[in-house]
C-alpha cells in the first residue's frame, strides 16, 4: 500500500537464526522441539508463524446489520415454560430459537403433537424469528408440526434440521433401519421444501463426534459425510442437486480452545466448498455452531461463563452463521432465567460491544490459523474419503470406524487435564448456582419414531464431559 509509512527502517531485518539463538539461550538444555505442540489428532502447531500468503478457506460474507444469528436453545419439559423462555430470549436480543423435542420430557420439551409445538411457539412470528428443531428420530414428525405452525407462509424462516445420523450415532441404534429413517426424512423434507422456500431441511452435524471426545478433523469428516448422505437422499427424493446442498446446514461445536475452533470452522468451509463445487452446487456453507457441552464443569460452574465466552468468540470469528451458546449451569440441570440471560448476553456483548463481527474472517492471514485451517481441512478430507470408501456415513458408523477415531483422539489427550476449579485451583467452598427443577411430565401423545424393519446398530458415540471423572473424585 502506498500509504504505509516506514516504521522499521531503523532496524536491520532480524533473521530466524538470530531468533533461534535467543530461543536456545532461553531453553538451555531443553530442545527447540519442546516448543511445538499438536492437536489431539496429531496436527502440528509451531511456536511461531510468518504471515500466510493467502487465505486457506473461503470467508463468510458478514451481513451488515447483524453479524450472525444469536440463537438460544430451549429444552424445558413444559411446553408453556419453553414458550416463556423462547419469548424472553427473543425480547432479550436473541434472533433465533432452537427447540429440543422429547415427548417424554426427559431430555427436551415434552412435545408429542402439532398442538404441543404450537403451544411452545405461541407468539413467535416465524417470518421474523427463525426456529430450528432438534428432534432426533422424531425429526420428520416434528417437521410436520413446525410446518403446521408456519401455516404455509412462504416467508417462514423454519429450520427443520432433520438429522437422523446424529441420533443414530449418539444412541448406537435406530428404531427400524437407519436407511429407512434417511428416506423418511428426505421424503418429508422434499414435501416441505417447496412450501417453505426459505427453510433449511437437514442439519449435517459433527457434534456427536466432538461431544464423544473426537478431534476437529474427525468432526468435520463426519459432518461432511452426513451432508453428502443427506444431499443424496434429497436428490433421490426428487430435489435438484444445487437445491439439495443449499438446504443443508453444517453443525459444528465451538469450544474453549478458541483458536482451534476458528481454524475448525474455516476448515469446514473449505471442505464444504470442495464437495459442493464438485457437485456443481454453490460452495457457500451455512454453519450452525453450538458451544461444546463436554467442556463444561459441574464443579465451580461459574468458570463456565468464561469458557462459553471463549467458545462464542471462536464461533463468531470462525464465521458461524448461527451461534448457540449453552448455559453455564448446563452440567447441573436446566437453566434458570438468569443463566439463559447470561448466555444470550455473552453473544450480544461479543457482537455489539467487542465488534467481533465487523470484519469477515478476521483471522485470515495469520500463519498460525491458516496452517491449522489447512491441516485440519486436509486431515478431514482424508477421513471423509475413508468414510466414503467404506460406503458412506452409515456403514462407517456401523463398522466402528468413526468410534475408533473418536477413541484415538480421546486417548491422545492428557490423562490429567488442567481444568480450572476442578483439577486446578478448586474453590475452598463452592458458591452454589441455581438450576430449574422440573419434573418430566410426558406429552399426552407419545408418537413413535419406529419404522418398519429391523433396528440398526452401531458403536455409540457416547457424550462425555471432560471434567466429570475428576469431579466425582473430589
Amino acid at each position: 500500500m502506498a500509504d504505509a509509512p516506514a516504521l522499521t527502517a531503523d532496524f536491520a531485518a532480524a533473521t530466524e537464526a538470530q531468533w533461534r539463538a535467543l530461543v536456545d539461550k532461553t531453553l538451555g538444555e531443553t530442545p527447540f522441539e519442546s516448543l511445538t505442540g499438536a492437536t489431539a489428532e496429531g496436527l502440528a502447531i509451531a511456536p511461531l508463524y510468518a504471515q500466510a500468503p493467502a487465505a486457506q478457506a473461503p470467508a463468510r460474507a458478514v451481513p451488515a446489520d447483524r453479524a450472525w444469528d444469536v440463537a438460544t436453545l430451549t429444552a424445558h419439559p413444559d411446553p408453556a415454560r419453553a414458550n416463556a423462555e423462547i419469548l424472553a430470549d427473543l425480547r432479550g436480543g436473541s434472533a433465533a430459537a432452537v427447540i429440543r423435542i422429547d415427548p417424554t420430557g426427559a431430555a427436551g420439551v415434552a412435545i408429542g403433537s402439532a398442538a404441543d409445538l404450537a403451544r411452545a411457539l405461541d407468539g413467535v412470528i416465524l417470518e421474523f424469528a427463525p426456529v430450528a428443531l432438534d428432534a432426533g428420530f422424531l425429526g420428520p414428525q416434528a417437521a410436520d408440526w413446525l410446518a403446521a405452525a408456519a401455516k404455509a407462509s412462504p416467508t417462514a424462516l423454519v429450520r427443520f434440521h432433520l438429522d437422523p445420523l446424529s441420533a443414530f450415532a449418539e444412541a448406537g441404534a435406530s428404531p427400524g433401519p437407519i436407511e429407512a429413517h434417511l428416506i423418511s426424512a428426505a421424503n418429508t423434507a422434499v414435501r416441505l421444501a417447496e412450501t417453505y422456500p426459505q427453510s433449511q431441511l437437514f442439519l449435517a452435524s459433527g457434534r456427536a463426534v466432538h461431544e464423544a471426545g473426537g478431534g476437529e478433523a474427525g468432526e468435520i469428516a463426519f459432518a461432511a459425510a452426513a451432508a453428502v448422505a443427506y444431499a443424496k437422499a434429497l436428490v433421490r427424493a426428487g430435489l435438484p442437486m444445487a437445491d439439495a446442498f443449499g438446504r443443508v446446514t453444517l453443525g459444528l461445536s465451538a469450544d474453549a480452545d478458541y483458536f482451534t475452533t476458528i481454524a475448525k470452522l474455516r476448515a469446514a468451509r473449505a471442505v464444504w466448498a470442495r464437495i459442493a463445487q464438485a457437485c456443481g452446487a454453490d460452495p457457500t456453507a451455512r454453519i450452525e455452531a453450538r458451544s461444546s457441552r463436554r467442556m463444561l464443569a459441574a464443579r465451580d460452574a461459574w468458570t463456565n461463563m468464561i469458557r462459553l465466552t471463549a467458545a462464542g468468540f471462536g464461533a463468531a470469528v470462525g464465521g458461524a452463521d448461527s451461534v448457540i451458546l449453552g448455559n453455564f449451569t448446563d452440567a447441573l440441570g436446566l437453566p434458570s432465567a438468569f443463566a439463559r440471560r447470561q448466555s444470550r448476553n455473552t453473544q450480544l456483548v461479543l457482537m455489539e460491544e467487542a465488534h467481533v463481527g465487523r470484519v469477515a474472517d478476521p483471522a485470515a492471514g495469520s500463519g498460525y490459523v491458516e496452517s491449522l485451517t489447512d491441516q485440519i481441512a486436509r486431515a478431514a478430507w482424508t477421513k471423509f474419503q475413508a468414510i466414503e470408501a467404506a460406503g458412506g456415513a452409515v456403514p462407517a458408523l456401523q463398522g466402528g470406524r468413526i468410534a475408533e477415531a473418536v477413541d484415538a483422539a480421546k486417548a491422545a489427550r492428557p490423562a490429567e487435564p488442567r481444568i480450572i476449579g476442578v483439577t486446578a485451583f478448586p474453590p475452598a467452598q463452592e458458591t452454589p448456582v441455581e438450576v430449574e427443577l422440573a419434573a418430566a411430565r410426558p406429552a399426552q401423545t407419545q408418537p413413535s419414531a419406529r419404522l418398519p424393519g429391523p433396528d440398526s446398530a452401531c458403536p455409540p458415540l457416547k457424550p462425555i464431559r471432560i471434567a466429570e471423572p475428576f469431579e466425582a473424585a473430589k
Partner: protein, 515 residues
C-alpha cells in the same frame, strides 16, 4: 446418482481465492476506517510484517519464547482499607493461583497525608489500603517473602515515602535491595493529564522521577522504576491512538529527564515499563499492544540509540477496562472482561489484571475476585492462548490495524514534539483527549438489563469500596506510630512519613487503577 462424484478418489483442492466482501467501512473512534474484509493486498508493502519476538523492533513480543516458557503474570490489583485485611486477601489469592501482588493505596496515602490529617477526613481507606508508617507496611507484607514475590505499587504523588517503606519492609525481612522485584507506578505526567494525585508542580515532580531512576538502577536492578500509563487515558475517554501516542510521548519525556540528570540511557531504560488499558474493541486492542512495542523501539532508537537492546523493548502490564463495565446486571461484566483479557494476551502483554464483575460497585469479594482470576487461569490452562507466539500476527486485518494505529500515533506524537515534548505540552495545556464520544458504552444495554433487577446471591454489593470502621482504626495506628517515633531511643524508628506539603484543592479520582 451419476451427478455425485466418487469422493473417495476426489483430491482436495482449496478453492481459488474469492473476491473480498465489499461494503461501507466502519469508522472507529480512532479515525480508522475498518473494511468489511481484508486480504493480502491490504498488507502488501507494509514493512511491519514478519520480524521475530525477542529481537528489535519487538513487534511480535519482547521475549524470544513468550508464553511458551513463561505465561503472562496474573497480577490482580487490590487493596482493602487496612493493612491486615489487605494482607489476608493477598495471601488467600496467592494460595489460589495469583502470581504477583499489586497494591492499591487509599486516597489519603496517594495524596501524601497521614490518616489522622484533617484534610483527608473521609478519604482514609477509600479505594485502597492506608499506609502511614512502617508498622502498616510491615503488616501489609507479613508472611509474603519480598525476595520471591514481585510487588507492583500504584503510587505516583507520594512515591518517595512509599518506596522507602517498601525497601525497609524488605530490609526487615532480611531481603537485600538487589533482590527486590516489582514495579512502582511513578508516572507523574499522567497525573497531570488525567488522574490528579500529584503533589508538586511538573518540574520538581520530574526531578523525583529521575532520582528514582538513578536510585533503582544502582540499588534495585530487578525493580521497574516506572510504569508509564495509558490506562487512565482510556478510562478518561481517550481513543486507542491517543492512549498509545501520549503514553509513549510520556515515556520519551522520562528518558530525557533521566539522561538530563546524567544517567546513561542503558542504566535505567531497560527497567521502564508500560501500563495499558484493554477495552472492548478486541482487534484494535491486539493491534495496540503490537504497535506500542514497535513504536517504542523506533522512538528510543531514533533519539537515544541505546546499545542495550533491552532499552528498546517495551514490556507492559495491562488491566481490563473499567469504563466498559456496568453497575447493573453485573454478570455481563464477566464476558466483557474475558474478551478484554483475550485481546490483551493475544497482543502479548507481560502481566494482566482482570477486573472483577462488581468492580464498578465495590471492592471485590472473594467470589468475584475468584472469577476474575479464573479468567486468566482459564486462558492459560484451557484456551490454548499460550501455545503460539503472537498468534494474530499475519492476520491481514490485525496487521493493517497495527500499521494504521502506529501511523496515527506517530502523528499525535509529532504534535506533542512540536510543542516541545510532553512536559511542555502539559504546561501549555495540550492533551485533553478527544473522547470516544457517543460510540462508547453499551449499545442495547436495555436489552441486557435484568428485568428482575434483583441482586444475584453471591454479590454482596453495597458500597464496599471502603470499610466503614477503617478510618478510626487507622487513626489509632497513626498515633501509635507517632508515639513510637518520638520514643527516646532503642527500637528501630518506624519511619513515619513526614508532614507533606499541603496539596492544592484538587479532588482525587476515585476509580481504582493499578500500576
Amino acid at each position: 446418482m451419476s451427478q455425485f462424484p466418487d469422493f473417495a478418489t476426489l483430491p482436495f483442492d482449496a478453492l481459488p481465492p474469492q473476491p473480498l466482501q465489499a461494503g461501507a467501512p466502519w469508522a472507529t473512534p480512532e479515525g480508522i476506517a475498518v473494511k468489511p474484509a481484508y486480504g493480502p493486498a491490504d498488507t502488501a508493502g507494509l514493512d511491519t510484517l514478519g520480524g521475530y519476538p525477542g529481537l528489535a523492533p519487538f513487534l511480535r513480543g519482547p521475549y524470544p519464547t513468550m508464553y511458551l516458557t513463561n505465561p503472562w503474570t496474573i497480577r490482580q490489583y487490590a487493596g482493602f482499607s487496612t493493612a491486615e485485611d489487605s494482607n489476608a486477601f493477598y495471601r488467600r489469592n496467592l494460595a489460589a493461583g495469583q502470581m504477583g501482588l499489586s497494591i492499591a493505596f487509599d486516597l489519603a496515602t496517594h495524596r501524601g497525608y497521614d490518616s489522622d490529617h484533617p484534610r483527608v477526613k473521609g478519604d482514609v481507606g477509600m479505594a485502597g489500603v492506608a499506609i502511614d508508617s512502617i508498622l502498616d507496611m510491615r503488616t501489609l507484607f507479613d508472611g509474603i517473602p519480598l525476595d520471591k514475590m514481585s510487588v507492583s505499587m500504584t503510587m505516583n504523588g507520594a512515591v518517595l515515602p512509599i518506596l522507602a517503606l517498601y525497601i525497609v519492609a524488605g530490609e526487615e525481612q532480611g531481603v537485600p535491595h538487589k533482590a527486590l522485584s516489582g514495579t512502582i507506578q511513578n508516572d507523574i505526567l499522567k497525573e497531570f493529564l488525567t488522574r490528579n494525585t500529584y503533589i508538586y508542580p511538573p518540574t520538581p515532580s520530574m526531578r523525583i522521577v529521575s532520582d528514582i531512576f538513578g536510585y533503582t538502577s544502582r540499588e534495585m536492578p530487578r525493580f521497574n522504576s516506572i510504569s508509564i500509563s495509558g490506562y487512565h487515558m482510556q478510562e478518561a475517554g481517550a481513543t486507542l491512538d491517543l492512549e498509545l501516542a501520549y503514553t509513549l510521548a510520556d515515556g520519551i519525556e522520562y528518558v530525557r529527564a533521566g539522561v538530563a540528570a546524567g544517567l546513561p540511557v542503558d542504566s535505567f531504560a531497560p527497567r521502564l515499563s508500560f501500563f495499558w488499558n484493554a477495552g472492548m474493541n478486541a482487534f484494535m486492542e491486539i493491534a495496540k499492544q503490537r504497535a506500542a512495542r514497535l513504536l517504542w523501539a523506533k522512538l528510543m532508537k531514533a533519539e537515544f540509540d541505546p546499545k542495550d537492546a533491552r532499552s528498546l523493548s517495551l514490556r507492559a502490564h495491562t488491566q481490563t477496562s473499567g469504563w466498559s463495565l456496568a453497575a447493573h446486571d453485573v454478570f455481563n461484566n464477566v464476558p466483557r472482561t474475558a474478551i478484554e483479557a483475550m485481546a490483551a494476551t493475544g497482543g502479548q502483554t507481560q502481566s494482566l489484571h482482570t477486573n472483577s464483575l462488581d468492580e464498578a460497585l465495590a471492592l471485590p469479594t472473594d467470589f468475584s475476585a475468584r472469577i476474575s482470576r479464573n479468567t486468566q487461569l482459564f486462558l492459560q490452562a484451557e484456551s490454548g492462548q499460550t501455545r503460539v507466539i503472537d498468534p494474530w500476527g499475519g492476520s491481514y486485518y490485525v496487521e493493517r490495524l497495527t500499521a494504521d494505529l502506529a501511523a496515527r500515533a506517530l502523528e499525535h506524537i509529532a504534535e506533542v514534539e512540536a510543542l516541545g515534548g510532553m512536559a511542555k505540552a502539559i504546561e501549555e495545556g495540550l492533551p485533553q483527549a478527544p473522547h470516544r464520544g457517543s460510540q462508547r458504552p453499551h449499545p442495547g444495554a436495555d436489552r441486557r438489563r435484568d428485568p428482575e433487577r434483583r441482586r444475584r446471591q453471591p454479590l454482596q454489593a453495597r458500597d464496599r469500596r471502603r470499610d466503614p470502621g477503617a478510618e478510626g482504626r487507622q487513626h489509632r495506628r497513626a498515633r501509635a506510630a507517632a508515639r513510637q517515633a518520638e520514643a527516646p531511643e532503642g527500637r528501630a524508628r518506624p519511619g513515619r512519613r513526614g508532614r507533606r506539603p499541603r496539596r492544592p484543592h484538587r479532588r482525587c479520582g476515585r476509580r481504582r487503577e493499578s500500576a
